[in-house]
Amino acid sequence: MSDRRDVCSVPAAHLSDWYDGVLPSHESQRINQHVTSCPVCRRRIDEYDEIQRMLRAHHTRVSQERVWRGVRERVLQQSPPQTRHTIPWQPAAALLAIVVLVVALAQVLRSHKTPSIIPTPAVSDTQAWGNYHHATYDLSSIAGSRFTPTALTSDGLLLGGYTIAPDGRSATFDIVTLATKQIQHIATNDFTRPGETLSMRLGINFALIGNEDNTFLKSYNLTTGTLTDHSQDHAVVLDAALDGSIGTEGIALELVVTPGNHNVLQILHLIDGTHKTIATDVKATARLFSEYLVYQQSNGQVAMIYHLVTEQSRVVPAQVTPVLFGPGATFRVADTTAFFTLPAATSHTVEFGEVDDLDATSASKHLIATTLAPGMQVVAASERLVLLSHQGQYFAWDRAQQRIVTLPEGLSAAGLSNNWLWLAGSNHLTVINTDSLPQK
């Protein structure tokens, strides 16, 4: 398998869909023709074939007889398989069941109109989670006492951050491999003014580093080690998505102010430096949530959502305020009460699913928390946790345990990366595997 990064206009996610035969026929035909002459796509298809070959090539060492012995033994100890019985009054029972369902549905719908407010239990500290899988690192021994963590990769392996020089005139950006403590230096930024705000995002394949006015903006390909300068784009970078299916390429969201004072929203593909215009006359508040880009037209309050993979736009339903999209949830924050909507609150698959259908998310609302203070910010969301902050104090809303956990005081930063919660103090970093948190 090759880590070469040649350029092709077909996103990897699109090619993956083609490979799985789930593209519309006209699009599939287009890719059919394209791949015959595109060495980049051809190589990636070869890689998909190779992944398939590798997954198929190896087998369990458990013999069929061993499995059968256990099954046979248990089956023979049991009673015969359950038999379905025909009930003579089945039609009447079916009718009764329908009536019960209709009444229940009506009650559910009524309750959705006026959700009951039940205070969310809050607990004082992370000890409430009991024994969970975590590790604490002495950052000063890894990257020096001035290292400020800003991002963790979604697999919890790489930590990104920066160190401000003692004279306060520059900062160096580094990536630390937590297991080996190896430090990978990316770039140095000479400040144009003291105390610049710096940012860093870290994805599967890319790190994006920058300062507040985008005079310093670079992307770093973690696989090839290539550093690309984007500061000449004359655009303000609003957000970036470096993870997931689109993130294998890496996408930054840019806003360009035209001479007529119109904001043009465009995406920048980090892999090849190409731009694509999404909309004109937009407000400067666009954000990326996984594969979704949410923005507002400057002439109205209506929020739009653009799907980066299918390249389709649509209006966000009025009842959904796109404060944050996380896996399985769309958040709406109103006054002191936070809501999130689920495609179907009763389905267990939703909690761990993806937000890919806004119509479905608007169908019902599910109250999750009521003890949030005014001004509390939703920082990030994962399948398990929602990270919140209020006046410098961080909280985690545990979606499995249905309660708010107060995180330790004095954190300089905190974040969620896939199934990792990371908490940075002045000189230490604690990384918690959220898969290890008890369910109850």
């Binding site: 799985d20 087998h59 458990v62 059968w68 256990g70 890919d356 898969d435």
Partner: protein, 173 residues
Amino acid sequence: MPATLAGQFDDFEALFRRYERAVTGYLWRMVGDDDIACDLAQETFVRAWQHYDELRTYEFQQAWLFRVATNLALNHLRGRVAFTSIADLRDDAPQLHLPDSTNDLAEREVIIQILQQLPPRQRAVLVLRSVYGLSCDELGRVLGISFEAAKIALRRARAKFRAGYLREEGCRE
């Protein structure tokens, strides 16, 4: 055992012989351990026997078995720390999960290791698609998710597996 039940048991054994390799192989890729895969496969077929009266009439018996196996695997994984658990990364812990350049890991071990680094549902869709050829529709039915969610999970799983493999390759070089 009465004759009718014995006949039914023979039919059940035929079903077991037909699908056992797929079910155990799938579970092994899901949990990364032969013994656990064996236990979960046995549980899957015991449940198949318990519902055999219905199951034998199903057109897609394999999909039913995969669904039960998936639920058992996810339940098992939920109670277990991830393979690339942070304990392995602790300062005082041996670096178990990272490839060791002095110890040339067999491809089998590497594949299983990378699979275990994927979120369980992504692992499930990648294996069911790549090894057993399930369509996104079938993946949705097996995992109880929508077609779109299955498609996205598959994309992500493939991208993550590829990235994981490249990382392993890089570490070995």
